[in-house]
Amino acid sequence: MTVCFEAMVKDVITPVLSTLALLTLWAILALVLHSRYLPAPTEVALAFVSELSSGALLYHGGITFLRVLSAFLLAMTVGTGLGLALGRNAKANRFFDPWLILALNIPALVTIVFCYLWMGINEAAAITAVALNKIPNTAITMREGARALDPGLEDVARVYRLTGWQKFRQVLWPQLEPFMAASVRSGLALIWKIVLIVELIGRSNGVGFQINLFFGQFDLARILVYTLGFMAVVFIIEALAIKPWEKRARAWRGE
């Protein structure tokens, strides 16, 4: 019982108390400052109900979610393939490393502008622009994963004649999984922020578009509704998918 209670305090009670403390601090500041630049939590809650009941929040949030998902899958697929190829081939890595460094340091805004100019202001350009911003990060993380693979364990796979799939599933994937989890987590955090910029510049729907709209109307409460709403979605994905996956992947370490 004591162990169970301690785990509940660690996993549930502490984060809830922390969130309540932040909300209280926000409410006090809003009350003291009494400024249109800092809407109170209650004002934001009312705006949330309004946007939810009108269907706008779900519509724009859903559009943004689909863009995030598409760009995420594209970036993870290309970035993982590229990273593993570079990590396993020293010559290719030497040749392409400057390209990777260059790509990593191109500002997100520049990539977005160029994609819109080259491909037109459309959905494909928006998703490509977001994916291009994430691919170098994924490639670098997965390249390190490929470099960290233990050649001794690959010898074991060869001696015991594991098939290609068995070798990947039983020997390589468990070593790559922590790198993949890190890449997924940072990817999700980065991609949804870039999607907002893409929407703000060149789309007529989505959370980024709405934030721009309410910026023009100086409606900070609704800006916070859309921002916090999407942050909540990312938080839920993290809590329900990424953390359990990481926990399972690390079980053998006793963590």
């Binding site: 001794g152 074991v156 001696v159 039983q170 468990p174 053998w252």
Partner: protein
């Protein structure tokens, strides 16, 4: 079982000269030589993990290898590690590893991990068993136990067994044919008539 390799060079350093050797069934052969003499390289050639300088390695036999380090997959339990190579068939119990099937390698001592690696090599049901320094870092009691297991294996499974060691006592205790790797590049010298070395 016959092996024939051209020389083996790493970078600019030729480690091994041309080598041919024959390993009769039901015998233990000890590859002797100081550290760095090429014992592990020769075992790796025999296991099909390296190619000789001609780029060929026509190994087709099932070869079980116990590496110098246990090389267990840390995310698999003891039982799963053994079953990577083949069915466990009571091997853990026969190697004194009862009750360890569901443990992860991090829970094992070095001696236990080596025995699991040995069990894995046996689970493969190999045509030839290669053991690279199988007794290194083990205490005397465990060395005796492992030697007894190897002798039992030699007598019951009728397969050739090769161990790489720098310790003459290992060869004597296993009643092994002794082959010595000496020189640079290393040449294989043997007292036994069935093994010869070509330059």
């Amino acid at each position: 079982m016959e092996f024939s390799f051209a020389s083996k060079t790493f970078g600019t350093r030729k480690i091994l000269g041309p080598i041919r050797l024959s390993l009769p069934k039901g015998t233990v052969t000890a590859l002797m030589g100081p550290s760095g003499s090429g014992k592990t390289t020769l075992l790796r050639l025999m296991a099909g993990l390296e190619r000789d300088d001609t780029g060929t390695n026509p190994i087709t036999a099932k070869i079980g290898m116990m590496f110098q380090e246990p090389r267990l997959l840390p995310w698999k339990t003891v039982l799963e590690n053994v079953e990577v190579a083949g069915p466990e068939n009571g091997l853990l119990e026969s190697l004194g590893l009862e009750g360890t099937a569901n443990l992860f390698p991090r829970h094992l001592s070095l001696g236990m991990a080596r025995r699991v690696a040995f069990a894995r090599a046996l689970a493969f049901q190999p045509d030839l068993l290669l053991l690279d320094e199988p007794f290194a870092s083990l205490d005397d009691a465990l060395v005796e136990r492992m030697r007894a297991m190897i002798l039992a294996l030699r007598d019951t499974c009728d397969i050739p067994i090769v161990i790489a060691t720098h310790n003459k006592d290992d060869a004597l205790a296993l009643d092994a044919q002794r082959l010595a790797l000496n020189g640079s590049p290393a040449e294989l010298r043997a007292a036994e008539s069935h093994c010869d070395q070509h330059m």
